[in-house]
Symmetry: D2
Subunit: 308 residues, 4 copies
C-alpha cells in the first residue's frame, strides 16, 4: 500500500502501553491498535509526544514500530516519530524506524541547541535527502520552544522536502495560512494536532487530525471527521463538544504534584485501562502516576461521555 498523498482522516498518535516494570507491553499495544483500527482510523502515528517517544529508549522505540508494523502494516499507513535534538541524531532514528517498517517519518525542529531559521531549513533538507520515506514536519513549540514559520513550511513543501505537517502549535491563524498556501501543493498533508478544534481545522481545509484523545475515543473522532466531510457542521459541532468535554480528563492530575504531561498522558492511559484496552496505566519515568482519586476523576469523564 503506497503512502497516501495527501494523508487524510484521523491518525491517532498511538499511546505506548507499558508493563509495571516499564517495558513496552506489546500485547496491550496491539490491542490498542486493534481498538483504533476497529474505530475506523485512517492511519497510525507511532512515537509521537503522546506515545511518550521522549521517554522511550532506542530499543523500545524500535520494538514499538516493529510490533505495530508486523500487526497492522499494509492495512493502514504507519508513521513514526524520529524525535531527537539535532540532525545527526534524527538521521539515526529515521534509519531505525524506516528499517522497522515505518512508511513516513515525523520530525521536529532542532531543540536543546539554539536554533536559527536557516538551520531549521538545513535540518529538514538533510533529513529529506537521506530518508527513503516521506518526511512530515512536527510543529510543537511547547516541546521544542520554536514555532515553525509558515513561509518556511510552505517553501519546503514547494521544494518537496516536506510531505506534510502535523501542527500541534494551537495557533489556528498560522495553520490556516499553511492550509491555504498548501493548495498549490495538493500532495502535501496538512494535519492538526489539536483535540479541541478538529471541526474548525477541517472546515477551513485541513486534510486530517492527529488527536491524542483519539486513543480513548477513536469512534468519536472518526464520526467527527465523517460529519465534517459530509458538511454536517451542526452534528460535527455537537460531537466535537462531546470530545472537548471528554478532553477535560487531562486535568485529572493535581498540578501541585505533577506536570502537564504526567496528568494528560496519565489520564489517557487510565482511560484506556478503565475501558479494558490496556493492562496497566503506568507512564514512563520520571512522570508521576495518577492517584486512585485522580483515576476516579478520569472515570467520571468517560462516564459523562458515554464511554463506560
Amino acid at each position: 500500500m503506497p503512502f497516501p498523498t495527501p494523508l487524510t482522516g484521523v491518525v491517532p498518535p498511538v499511546c505506548t502501553p507499558l508493563t509495571p516494570g516499564r517495558e513496552v507491553d506489546v500485547p496491550s499495544l496491539l490491542r490498542l491498535v486493534d481498538h483504533l483500527v476497529e474505530g475506523g482510523v485512517h492511519g497510525l502515528f507511532l512515537l509521537g509526544s503522546t506515545s511518550e517517544a521522549a521517554f522511550l529508549t532506542d530499543r523500545q522505540r524500535r520494538q514499538v514500530v516493529e510490533a505495530v508494523v508486523a500487526h497492522a502494516g499494509g492495512q493502514l499507513p504507519v508513521l513514526a516519530g524520529a524525535i531527537d535534538m539535532t540532525t545527526p541524531r534524527v538521521l539515526d532514528h529515521v534509519a531505525a524506524v524506516t528499517a522497522a517498517g515505518a512508511q513516513a517519518v515525523v520530525v521536529t525542529a532542532p531543540f536543546y541547541a539554539r536554533t536559527h531559521r536557516s538551520e531549521i531549513v538545513h535540518h529538514y533538507r538533510r533529513i529529506a535527502a537521506a530518508s527513503e520515506v516521506p518526511v512530515i514536519a512536527y510543529d510543537i513549540p511547547v516541546a521544542v520552544h520554536t514555532k515553525l514559520p509558515t513561509d518556511l513550511v510552505l517553501g519546503l513543501a514547494a521544494d518537496r522536502v516536506l510531505a506534510g505537517i502535523k501542527d500541534s502549535s494551537g495557533d489556528l491563524g498560522a495553520f490556516r495560512e499553511i492550509v491555504t498556501g498548501a493548495r498549490a501543493h495538493p500532495e502535501f498533508s496538512v494535519l492538526t494536532g489539536s483535540e479541541l478544534f478538529v471541526d474548525s481545522a477541517l472546515a477551513l481545509g485541513a486534510d486530517g487530525a492527529v488527536p491524542g484523545l483519539a486513543n480513548v475515543d477513536p469512534h468519536g473522532y472518526v464520526r467527527l471527521y465523517r460529519m465534517c466531510r459530509a458538511g454536517d457542521w451542526e452534528g460535527a459541532r455537537a460531537e466535537q463538544e462531546r470530545l472537548c468535554a471528554l478532553f477535560g480528563m487531562v486535568t485529572a492530575g493535581d498540578p501541585a504534584r505533577m506536570g502537564g504531561s504526567s496528568s494528560a498522558l496519565g489520564a489517557f492511559k487510565a482511560a484506556l485501562h478503565l475501558r479494558g484496552v490496556i493492562d496497566c496505566p503506568v507512564t514512563a519515568e520520571p512522570q508521576v502516576p495518577l492517584s486512585g482519586e485522580e483515576t476516579e476523576r478520569v472515570g467520571k469523564f468517560l462516564a459523562a461521555a458515554g464511554l463506560l
Copy 2:
C-alpha cells in the same frame, strides 16, 4: 585516581573536533586534550553543550569518551555528559559513558517533556540510584527551558543524590545561594559554567569553573584560577577582563545567517584551528559554518588577546 570530592579548578567542556565528513576527528581531539592538559586544567568534561553533545550520535559519543579516557584517563578526572530528554534515555547514556570510562556523569533536568519540580527530583534520584559514578547536575535553562531551583539542588546535595552542580544559568544570585548552602556538604562540587565571571564565582566560594572558552585559552583560565586562589583579586580581574574580551569571538557569526550556537561553537573551533590545535573547524549539522570573513574576525580576537 579517585574522583575528587569536591572537584575543583578549571574543567573545560572539551570541544569535539570533526572531520570534513563530520565524523569525530580523534587525532585532533587528542591534540586538544594535550593542549588542555599542558595548559594545566584540573579535569575534562566531555559531551557537554560546548562539546556538541546534542549533535553527536550515540556511536560518536562513545567514541569520544573511549578515546579520551584511553589517552588521559588516570591523569585527571574525566566527566561525561549524559544529555537526553528523560530518565530512561539518560540511563542508557549513563551506562554507555560509564562503560567507556567516565568517572562522573553530568545530567540536565528533563526537556522536551513538560517538567514539574517533583519530576526533576525523581529523575535525579532514579539516575543516581542506577549510576555507578557520581552524578552532577547541569543547570542550563537556555537549553532545557527550566531553571533548577536552589532548594531542590541543596536537598539533593544533602541526600547525597547529587555530587555537584555545573551552573550555566548565568544567575549569580542563585549560584551564591547554592555555594553558601553547600558549605554544609563539603564534598559537593559547585562549578560555574560562565566564561565571564569566574573571578566573581570563585571569590564568593565556588569550587571551580567549566568555561567553554578554556578550550581556546586554557592557560588563561588556569592563571585566573590560581590568582583567585592566591587572593590576587587585582590580577584576577585583569586576566578575567582579557578573557572577556577574547570571549567576544562568539559574536563573530552573522546573526542574520545563523543561531548563537553556530556562532559560538564555530568561533571556538575556528580559534582552535587557527591556533593549530585541530585540523578542521567544521561544526555538526545543522549548524551554519563561519564564512572566511567571520573566521578572520575570530583571528582578530585571538591576536588582541596575544594568542596568535
Copy 3:
C-alpha cells in the same frame, strides 16, 4: 441605548489617527468612525492595542473617547480600554473613560508587576466593584505576558464581575472552553480578537469579533459575520480567506528595521490613508514609520483584495 447583553457582531478596535505632530487627528478619527458605521459594524472599541492605547497620553485618551462619543454615541455601543499596569492606575482610567462617555471598559490582567492568579481575580473584582459600566476582560498574552485561565474567566462570569471577554490569545481551544462554559451565562459576551479565524470562532458559538483589520475593511468583516449567522459557511470561508490575504499587509514593514506593532499598525494606517479615510498614516513614538516601498506593499494588498 442600553449596552447589549451580550454584545454581538463586529466591534472594531478603532485606530487612532494622528497628525504629523502626533496629536490626535480628530477629523480623521471621526471620518474613520463614519467609515466603520457605514460599513455596518455593531460597536466601537476605543483605546485598545490597535488604537495605540499604550502610546496615547491620558489627555489624548480622553480626547479620543469624548470625540467619538459626541459623534456616534447612542448610534452604537462604545467601549473603551482602560489599559494600565495595576488596579489603582486602571481605576483612574476607568473613571476617566466613563466620564468621557464609554459604555463599557476593557481591562487586561496586571502587567509589569509579576502577577498571581489570585491577584488577577482581586484586580477584576475591585475594578468591577468601582465601575459604573460593564467590565470586559482583555486576554492579550503577547502584551501582558499572562494568559487568563479559562476557569478564572468563567468564575468571574458566573459572579457577574465580568460582562464579557475579548480574547486576543490566538488559542482557539481555550476560547472554545469559554464559549461553551459561558452558555450558562447568556448575557456574557465572548468576542474573538482574531482577524484570521472569525468564521471558526463564530461557528463554534462566539458572540462576535474585534478584528483590527476591520478598520481597513469593515464591509468585509460585516459580510463575513452575516454569512456566518446565516449558516453560509462556504461563503464565509471565501470571505475569511480574502480577509486573511489582506491581513498579509501586517508584514509590510521590514523586521530588520522595526517591531511587529510598527509594521502592523503602520500597515493599517497606511491602508486607511491610501483608501482616503485618514489624513496621515503616522504612528505614535517610538514606532518606526513604513518606508515608501513598504507603503507600496500595503497598496498591493489593498489592490489584491479589491479595495483600491
Copy 4:
C-alpha cells in the same frame, strides 16, 4: 547640589509606605527617608519597582516626589522613575517628576507594545532630548520582557543620551561588559540592582548599587559598599552573605497564594513595620497581604540578621 557624574554608592529604591486606605503615608515615607539617610546612603531612587511605582496613581507618584524632595532634596541626589509603556506616556511622567524636583529620571524600555531594538534606541533619544535632567536606563527584563543589549547601552552612553544604567537583569556577564565598556565614558553611572552580589559588582568595577533590601538594612549595604571600596573583600563577603540571608525574607509569602512581588514587597514593608520605621505594612492592590504567620517569618529573618 549638582547631580554626581557618575553617581556612586548605595542608592536604595525607596519603598512607598501606604495607609490602610492605600494612600501614600507621607509621615512614614519621611521617616523611612530619615532612616536611609541616617544609614549613610548616597542617593534616593523614588518610584522604582520596589517603590510600587507600577501601582501608584499619577497623583500619588507626584506626592511621593514632592514630599521627599521637600524633606531631603539638596542633602543627597534624588532620582525618580518615569515608568510607563511608551515614549509619549513616559515623557509625561518625566515632566511631572522633574517638576516635582527629581534630579534624574529612570526609564525602562517600552513594554506592553512589542519592541524592536531600533525602537528602544529612538525611545531613549526622544526622552533624553526632552528631559531637563539626566536619563538613566532601567534594565529590568522580568518586568518589561526585554533585555537591553549591551552595545545599545554603550552606544547611547557614548552619545551622552544615557547618563547611566540601573541593571536589574541579574546577568552579571552582560553587566560586566557594560562596566568595562563604560570606562571610556567616566561620567556614566553603572549601578547594579541586585541585592545578592553587590560585592561582586563593585569588585568588577560598578559605581554603586540600588538594592531594594537596603530599605530594611541601609547600614548593612553602606558598610558593604565601604568595605568593597577599601578592598576588604573578606569583610565584604561576610557582610554580603549576612544580607543574602536577610534577603530570604522575600520568600515569606506562600507562593500558592500570591505572586513574587506581593511576597517580596510585602516582606520589605513588614520588616520596616516591625523595625518601627513605617506605620502600616500594607501593599498596593491587587497585591495579596502577608498573613500573621508569614509576617512572623519576616521577623525571624530580621532577628537572625541582628535587626530586631
